[in-house]
Amino acid sequence: MSKKSLVVEHLKRAQMLDVLTKGVRLDGRGLLDYRPITIETGIIEKANGSAKVRIGNTEVIAGVKVQTGAPFEDTPDQGLLIVTAEVLPLASAYAEPGPPNEDAIELARVADRGIRESGVVDLKELCLVKGKNVLAVFIDVSVLNVDGNLFDAVSYAAVAALLSSTMPKYEVTAEGVKDTGKTIPLPVKLTPISITMVLIGNTIIVDPTLDEESVMTARITIASADKNTICAGQKGNPGGFTEEQVMLAIDTAISKGEEIRKMLKKSVGHGKKQK
């Protein structure tokens, strides 16, 4: 991504700013419009849950695996929730194989905060035997094609995969923990929705394309848990926001969040019926 300055030339930047001042974008969208979003679930049969999300040409796939494990020492009565994100080398001419770089780590950690810290999954319901056996939920997200706004795409895929997940039902007997062979839904309590906005010139737009990201000065991602609750935030990129811009970002995150939450829930419900 450090090479994005090479991708979009100065002319494009001027043109983009020019158009933005008129309240529209190069691809014709309004400032606060998302590109078309599609969400499919249940596409990886071997996973406990899965989802493929497209936002415009950005495409990611998420899989959920539930396994038994040992709890952390300081939370003996809670299950584990681990989120990873990787930009696959096939996703972009600039992605490279190898251990995750700082961009990929930020991507995964912001998704993780939006899910784990906000209490989406009730970790106490994942405890089988206190201090000994818990369920570990792995949410692994792979980016298949990069065209901007990875934060939201990763977040929607992770949430949709979680919402469509089941987990094995275990019985705790005198001899130990036993898989009953039945499955139950994951205890998902919330549907956090992340909204990413960027600053170009003095204009804030949502859902930036890769071209738009190449000329942005700052990025902010805000997740809401419902129409009155913010549950994660991350400012990124070497630039700043004024207080007014931050407040606009919060309001936008809440209102757009409601829209997308409905759409996502509908998609997942639809996916479940299909299965």
Binding site: I44, L88, D140
Partner: protein, 246 residues
Amino acid sequence: MSKSSITKLLDAKGVRHDGRKFNELRPVTMKVGVLENADGSAYIEFGKNKIMAAVYGPREVHPKHMSVPDRSVLRCRYHMTPFSTDTRKNPAPSRREIEISKVIREGLEPALILTDYPRTAIEVYLEVLQSDGGSRCASITAASLALADAGINMRDLVVGCAAGKIEGRVVVDLDDVEDKEGEGDMPMAILPNLGQVTLLQLDGRFSRKEFDEAFKLAKDGCMKVYDIQRKALMEKYFGAEETGEQ
């Protein structure tokens, strides 16, 4: 390859656990040109295998000193997503993935006219979204489609199919269960028009005669896959009727 067979792999009539005959492939679909950014791409479903292939190049070599004056450097990475396997896979590349990346690369190279692209790199990325038996064969098939889609000059396509042995019987195209419970597996890839075997691996135990049968079954399997592969290419480039994965 454990000998303790829990599953019954063949019934009295020689029907396999999923209903196939000894010489029958699993369902296969392919699609060319599925990723926006890649110079070429393809997607394959082969049984439960779901594999994405992308090609970048010919392009500049990084680091530069790895470039070769008279031809392109072919690179290949075969990788499995953590959710692609029964038990979650660690995302770091395993020794198995590194070996498979190598044999796929070496299996593709004879089909490519690398001397047409001096001082460049051609990079092939294979991502197994869901794995089943035979993922390396499905991968090399998809990789060759993605290379064609990228417009790389080729002498032939490459097409892969395995044969194996279950309960003493040689059969084509093992799935995961057959691979685990069976007695042998022989993945193979060929250049269908040039008649070259460019990938061949074998484990388990085969008598001399069983090897001949396995070779024939794998070769016939490859030719069947080749038909599907050609159709997928034509659909992309000549707008034939749409099939396979959306």
